[in-house]
């Protein structure tokens, strides 16, 4: 049975053909209208339901102060730095585990033990160890990319068909050569799937850590400040933006994957 329970479906865009159908617009537009009407009911409601006008003014406000641009830059930077560091470490450890059984037996159980703690549950610990600033957030983001990539690398290397490995044996390639010339290229498409997951997790962890650790710049911090000031308009802008950025990153990395692995003949 063909199904996939992915974080972000890989074929999401094809589902967006609703842009052509009137039906799909009915509920979003209806919701917006209800929202707008609610916001105009009373002063108290205007506070919880920001009107479209308010949201527009809020957007102009955070754009003109440069707060939004700064926040986007800080969050994206954190996500990518975490993906780079955590992902590289994850790939290395996954590869070592797949290559040496001793490493597999020794590292595997420890990895699975430590992985059980939800990342957000580690926040109080890191805040005591590293403070509330950028180092703590970076460690959380690194871990979020590290865990999935260890697993993806390990699994992908193990799934390489044995006939490919036999080619290496026939050619009497050294272990390193077999790894670089045969195993890695064969496993790369699957590892890349792992990277796209790691990116999604890193983005989640970025926003989560910025919300939970109070100090520093980033979209999550802007949100917490807006929440403290009861600025629903700004919260709506940022929440939508975070969703949109996550979606775009997922879309881009899938496109990159399709381009990079166009040599792979898919049935």
């Amino acid at each position: 049975m063909a199904y996939s329970v992915s974080i972000m479906s890989t074929h999401t865009l094809s589902k967006y053909s609703f842009l052509n159908s009137a039906r799909g617009w009915l509920i979003p537009v209806g919701l917006l209208l209800v929202w707008e009407v609610m916001s105009r009911q009373s002063a108290e409601n205007a506070y919880a339901f920001a009107s479209i006008e308010q949201i527009y003014h809020g957007l102009v406000e955070i754009l003109s102060t440069g707060e939004l641009q700064q926040g986007i830059a800080a969050s994206l930077q954190r996500a990518f730095l975490g993906l780079l560091i955590g992902g590289f470490l994850g790939f290395s450890i996954g590869a070592v585990m797949a290559q040496w059984r001793v490493a597999d037996v020794l590292i595997g159980p420890l990895y699975h033990m430590l992985r059980q703690v939800p990342l957000m549950g580690l926040v109080p610990l890191f805040s005591l160890w590293l403070g509330n600033g950028d180092p703590s957030k970076l460690v959380v983001v690194c871990l979020s990319a590290f865990y999935p990539l260890v697993l993806a690398t390990y699994e992908s290397l193990h799934q390489v068909e044995s006939k490919y490995k036999e080619v290496g044996d026939v050619l009497k390639l050294s272990r390193t050569k077999t790894f670089i010339k045969i195993l890695l290229p064969a496993a790369l498409p699957n590892i890349f799937t792992g990277i796209s997951f790691a990116l999604a997790f890193a983005w989640l962890a970025t926003i989560g850590s910025e919300i939970l650790f109070s100090a520093g710049a980033g979209l999550g911090n802007i949100m917490m400040n807006a929440q403290a000031a009861s600025r629903m308009d700004i919260l709506i802008i940022l929440t939508a933006l975070i969703g949109l950025l996550g979606f775009l990153m997922n879309y881009l990395i899938n496109k990159v994957g399709q381009y990079l692995f166009r040599w792979r003949n898919l049935r």
């Binding site: 509920i27 037996v105 420890l110 549950g121 799934q159 929440q227 940022l238």
Partner: protein
């Protein structure tokens, strides 16, 4: 299972035969034990100040103290009830919504765009808005858990139902099955395996988001206990919390896994 699902669940399936060998099963304890010993040793020579690192034994001791004073049970029961209520509301409504959306073209036409758009927003990014809308009371925590469970389960059951082979429906038409039988005998058995996987993912997300929500705004619960520990620099309490969140998440994940393996006799793979 695709690499994606396995990464999302953290399932490591490679080379099962190798893992089953008993001698290696014992070897699996080497690194966790070494880790604990190293931790105890570093704590003992006080490489870091005792305010930053306490030994595993002290963590165990604090665990006993919290257990004896009844404080821990209080936090745990509050967390579990939030998780239970939120997860059951979210998962059951998500299940229903996913199936209906997959089977009815009309419902799909109306709801799928909104669903696909809202799905892109991570639960954790909704915490600030939910706090403004619902305050910091119980409703906020239950709502955020419900949201996390709903979207994950709805997506899983939607895609699972979409994936049911056309032949099954043709057979049901040929036999003129009533709608009720169509659901109980065909749709539900067909989607159960992927939906259980979806429930597993949904559960671990709900647990994570609940801990995060309790860290931010709560007067009780496991997350709150850790937050208090952090504020008064009681690293031992924080560590008890960290270990417990891990153990609870792991334990319930195992329950779902057991369910997957034992409740679905017709499961392939």
């Amino acid at each position: 299972m695709s690499i994606g699902i396995r990464v999302a669940l953290g399932i490591n399936q490679a080379d099962p035969k190798f893992r089953r060998r008993s001698r290696l099963r014992l070897a699996a304890f080497i690194s966790p034990i070494a880790f604990l010993l190293l931790w105890a040793w570093v704590a003992k020579i006080e490489l870091f100040s005792p305010q930053l690192l306490v030994s595993p034994l002290e963590v165990l001791q604090t665990f006993h103290e919290l257990l004896d004073s009844g404080e821990l049970w209080e936090h745990l029961s509050v967390s579990f009830s939030r998780l239970g209520i939120g997860f059951s509301i979210g998962a059951s409504s998500g299940l229903l919504f996913g199936i209906v959306m997959a089977l009815s073209k009309r419902v799909e036409g109306f709801f799928s765009p909104v669903f696909q758009a809202l799905r892109q927003v991570p639960s954790i990014a909704l915490i600030p808005i939910f706090i403004l809308l619902f305050g910091i009371d119980e409703i906020f925590k239950i709502a955020i858990v419900t949201k996390a469970a709903f979207f994950t389960v709805a997506l899983a059951s939607y895609e699972a139902t979409k994936g049911i082979s056309r032949n099954y429906f043709e057979v049901s038409q040929a036999y003129k099955l009533p709608t009720y039988t169509l659901y109980t005998k065909i749709v539900i058995p067909a989607i159960l395996p992927p939906v259980l996987t979806g429930l597993r993912i949904a559960f671990s997300r709900s647990w994570t988001i609940l801990v995060a929500a309790e860290l931010l705004a709560a007067d009780s619960g496991l997350g709150h206990m850790m937050q208090m520990g952090r504020e008064v620099f009681r690293i031992d309490i924080v560590m008890v919390g960290v270990v417990l969140t891990g153990l609870i998440g792991f334990g319930i994940d195992r329950l779902f896994k057991w369910g997957e393996a034992n409740l679905i006799p017709w499961r392939t793979a």
